[in-house]
C-alpha cells in the first residue's frame, strides 16, 4: 500500500505510538512480575538512600572521637552503638556505605567498559584473540583476592588503588563473557552481508555486534559489583584497603575484630550491610538475567 494522504500518515504514527506504549507496558509488567528483580531493586534503593540520608539524619560525624563514650552498645542516641574510639557507629556504617558501594560501582563501570572493548576486539580479530586470551588465562590463574592483595601491597592502601586492584582482577571475567557472545554474533549471516557491502570493522563491531552482547554484559557486571564489595571489605579487613580513619564496611570490621569480645555490634551491623548489599546485587542480577533472556532457565545461575 502506498501512503497518499495526511490522514493515513497520522494513523500510521498513532499506530506506532500505540505499539511503543504497549511495549513499555509489557516491560513494566514483566518487571513487576519478576519478584527476584523487584526485591533486589528495592533493597538497592534502600541501600542507596541509607548511604546518602544516613549521615544527614545522624547528629554525629563519622570521624568525631569521643573517648568517654567508647564501646557503648546501641542506645537511643547511638543507634548502632559506638566504636573503640567512641565514634558513632551508625554514621560510620552509613558513610562507609558510600565508600564500599562507591568502590563497587566504580569497579563495575570500569570492568564493563574495559572488558567490553577487549571482548569485542578479541572476538573480531582472531590473532588478537590468542594473545588477549592467554593474558586473561594468566590473570585468572591468580585467585582474585590474592591478586588484589599483591597489587595493594605494591600500590599502597588507598580507595583508588582498591578500585584498580579489583578491576584488574575482574576484567578477564567480563571480557570473556562479551567475547563469547560476540563470537556467536560474528558468525551470523547479516554480519557477513555487512562485510560484503563494505562496512567498516568499526561500524560492524560497535553498531551491530555490541548491542547483541549488552544483556549478558549487564548481568555479569552486576555480579562483579557484588564481588567488588566483598573484595573491598576483605582488603580493608586485612588492613590493605581503605585506610583509617575514613570508614568502609571492611575497615569497621577490622576495628571490630580487635574488640569482638566486648562489642558485638561492631561486627554485626557492618556485616549485615555487606550481606544486604551482596544479596541485593545477586538477586538483582538473577532477576535481570530472567528479564533480559526469556529463554534462560530460572533455576540455573551458572
Amino acid at each position: 500500500m502506498v501512503i497518499t494522504n495526511d490522514a493515513q500518515v497520522n494513523e500510521l504514527s498513532l499506530l506506532e505510538k500505540n505499539v511503543k506504549k504497549e511495549r513499555r507496558k509489557l516491560l513494566v509488567k514483566r518487571f513487576v512480575s519478576n519478584k527476584t528483580l523487584v526485591t533486589g531493586t528495592a533493597m538497592l534503593v534502600f541501600l542507596t538512600l541509607f548511604s546518602f540520608a544516613g549521615p544527614l539524619i545522624s547528629q554525629f560525624s563519622p570521624l568525631d572521637i569521643d573517648p568517654a563514650n567508647r564501646l557503648q552498645g546501641p542506645t537511643a542516641e547511638h543507634w548502632f552503638g559506638t566504636d573503640n574510639f567512641g565514634r558513632d557507629l551508625f554514621s560510620r556504617v552509613a558513610s562507609g556505605a558510600q565508600v564500599s558501594m562507591g568502590v563497587g560501582l566504580s569497579v563495575a563501570v570500569l570492568t564493563a567498559i574495559i572488558g567490553m572493548v577487549i571482548g569485542l576486539y578479541a572476538a573480531y580479530y582472531s590473532i588478537l584473540d590468542h594473545v588477549l586470551m592467554r593474558f586473561s588465562d594468566a590473570l585468572m590463574a591468580f585467585p582474585d583476592i590474592l591478586l588484589a592483595i599483591a597489587i595493594m601491597a605494591v600500590l599502597g592502601p588507598q580507595p583508588v588503588n582498591v578500585v584498580i586492584a579489583v578491576t584488574l582482577a575482574k576484567i578477564p571475567v567480563v571480557a570473556r563473557i562479551v567475547r563469547s557472545s560476540a563470537l556467536v554474533i560474528k558468525e551470523q549471516t547479516y554480519i557477513e552481508a555487512m562485510r560484503a557491502q563494505g562496512a567498516s570493522s568499526w561500524r560492524i563491531i560497535w553498531r551491530h555486534i555490541l548491542p547483541n552482547t549488552v544483556s549478558p554484559l549487564i548481568v555479569q557486571v552486576t555480579y562483579v559489583f557484588a564481588i567488588a564489595i566483598i573484595l573491598e571489605a576483605a582488603l580493608s579487613f586485612l588492613g590493605a584497603g581503605v585506610p583509617a580513619p575514613d570508614p568502609s564496611w571492611g575497615n569497621i570490621l577490622f576495628d571490630g575484630k580487635i574488640v569482638i569480645y566486648n562489642a558485638w555490634w561492631m561486627t554485626v551491623f557492618p556485616g549485615a550491610f555487606i550481606v544486604l548489599a551482596v544479596l541485593a546485587l545477586n538477586l538483582f542480577g538473577d532477576g535481570l538475567r530472567d528479564l533480559l533472556d526469556p529463554h534462560s532457565n530460572k533455576a540455573i545461575k551458572e
Binding site: P143, I260, W264, K301
Partner: protein
C-alpha cells in the same frame, strides 16, 4: 587423546610465562625505588645501594627477568628479607594449615551440598526446594571472613564451645588438629556449599527431564536406583567442574579466613609480608598458588577427556 594432551600442555607455556612476568613486574610497579621502599625510611643510602645491588636492580630489565626466571624455574624463589629464610621454605612451612583448612572446608561443603541439591531437585518447586534455595542464596552472599567473624562471635565468644584462635599441627593428635579448624572450615565451606548445592540442583533437574530417565522409570526401576545410579552419575560432570573451578576460591577464602582465626597458614604469611614490605615472599607465594591452580585445572581438563569422550572429540 594424545594430540589433545600435547595441545593442552603446549597451551600452558605462554600462560605460565605471562604469570611469571606479571609476578616479576609486581616489584617494578612500586612507586619510587623498590629497595628504598622495602628498607623503610630509616635506611641509609648505603644500605639502599647495597640492596639494589643485591636484588640486581641495576641490571637491564630483561637481564633481571632472565636471572629471576631461571632461578624460579630451578625452584629458587629468593630469600625473605625479614625472616632470613628462603621463600620456598617459608611457603612449605605455612602450607599445612591452609591445605588442611581447604580440604576440611571442601569435605564439609560436599557433604551437605550434594544431598541438599539432589533433594531440592527431586522436590522442585515445593516449599522444601524454595527454603533450601533461599538459604543457598544467603550463603552465597556472606563473604567467608564475615561468616567467620559471626561464628566466632556465637560459638567462640558467647557459647565458648570452640577455640577462636590458634592452631595445633596434625602431629599433636587428630582432634586437637581438627578442633581449631572446625569454625574456619564451616565459614569457608558455607559459600562453597551454596554454589555446589545450586549447581547440583540445576544439573539434576536437567538430567531428570531426559528421556533415558523416563525409560528407566518405565522399566519399573526403583526410585532410588533411578535417582542415584542413573541421574546422579550423569549430573556429576558439571558438579566436578565446579569443584575444580572453586579450588581457587577456596584458597582465596582460606587466606582471609586464616587471618580471622590467626591460623599460621599462607594467608598469614602473605599478610605479614605486606606489613613488613617483604616483597619476595609476596611474589613467591602468589606465584606458587597461581601455578598450582593452573596445573590443577590442567589435570581436571585431562580427566574430563578421559571420562567423557565427547570432550576430547569436541576440543580437537
Amino acid at each position: 587423546m594424545k594430540a589433545y594432551i600435547i595441545k593442552r600442555l603446549l597451551s600452558m607455556i605462554p600462560v605460565l610465562l605471562i604469570v611469571a612476568m606479571f609476578v616479576f613486574f609486581l616489584i617494578h610497579m612500586i612507586p619510587g625505588d623498590p629497595a628504598a621502599v622495602m628498607l623503610g625510611p630509616e635506611a641509609t643510602p648505603e644500605e639502599v645501594a647495597a640492596l639494589r645491588d643485591n636484588m640486581g636492580l641495576n641490571l637491564p630489565i630483561y637481564e633481571q627477568f632472565f636471572n629471576w626466571f631461571t632461578d624460579v624455574a630451578r625452584g629458587n624463589l629468593g630469600d625473605s628479607l625479614y625472616m632470613n629464610v628462603p621463600v620456598m621454605d617459608a611457603f612449605v612451612s605455612h602450607l599445612g594449615p591452609t591445605l588442611s583448612l581447604a580440604l576440611l572446608a571442601q569435605g564439609f561443603s560436599i557433604l551437605i551440598a550434594i544431598p541438599i541439591g539432589v533433594l531440592a531437585a527431586r522436590k522442585r518447586g515445593t516449599g522444601v526446594d524454595r527454603t533450601f534455595m533461599i538459604i543457598a542464596m544467603l550463603g552465597m552472599s556472606i563473604p567467608s571472613f564475615l561468616l567467620a567473624l559471626l561464628l566466632m562471635l556465637v560459638f567462640g565468644v558467647r557459647l565458648n564451645w570452640l577455640p577462636v584462635a590458634g592452631y595445633s599441627s596434625l602431629a599433636e593428635g587428630v582432634w586437637q588438629h581438627v578442633k581449631f579448624l572446625i569454625l574456619p572450615a564451616i565459614s569457608l565451606g558455607a559459600i562453597q556449599a551454596a554454589v555446589i548445592a545450586r549447581m547440583t540442583r540445576s544439573s539434576m533437574i536437567d538430567i531428570l527431564s531426559m528421556n533415558f530417565i523416563k525409560t528407566a522409570k518405565a522399566k519399573g526401576l526403583k526410585q532410588k536406583v533411578v535417582i542415584y545410579k542413573h541421574a546422579f552419575r550423569n549430573a556429576l560432570i558439571p558438579i566436578l567442574t565446579i569443584l575444580g573451578e572453586t579450588f581457587g576460591a577456596l584458597i582465596t577464602g582460606a587466606v582471609v579466613t586464616e587471618t580471622v582465626f590467626n591460623l599460621p597458614g599462607l594467608g598469614q604469611l602473605v599478610i605479614n609480608a605486606i606489613t613488613r614490605r617483604d616483597y619476595a615472599v609476596i611474589q613467591g607465594t602468589i606465584l606458587m598458588i597461581a601455578v598450582t591452580y593452573l596445573f590443577l585445572n590442567l589435570i581436571i581438563d585431562l580427566l574430563y577427556g578421559l571420562v567423557d569422550p565427547r570432550v576430547r572429540l569436541s576440543r580437537k
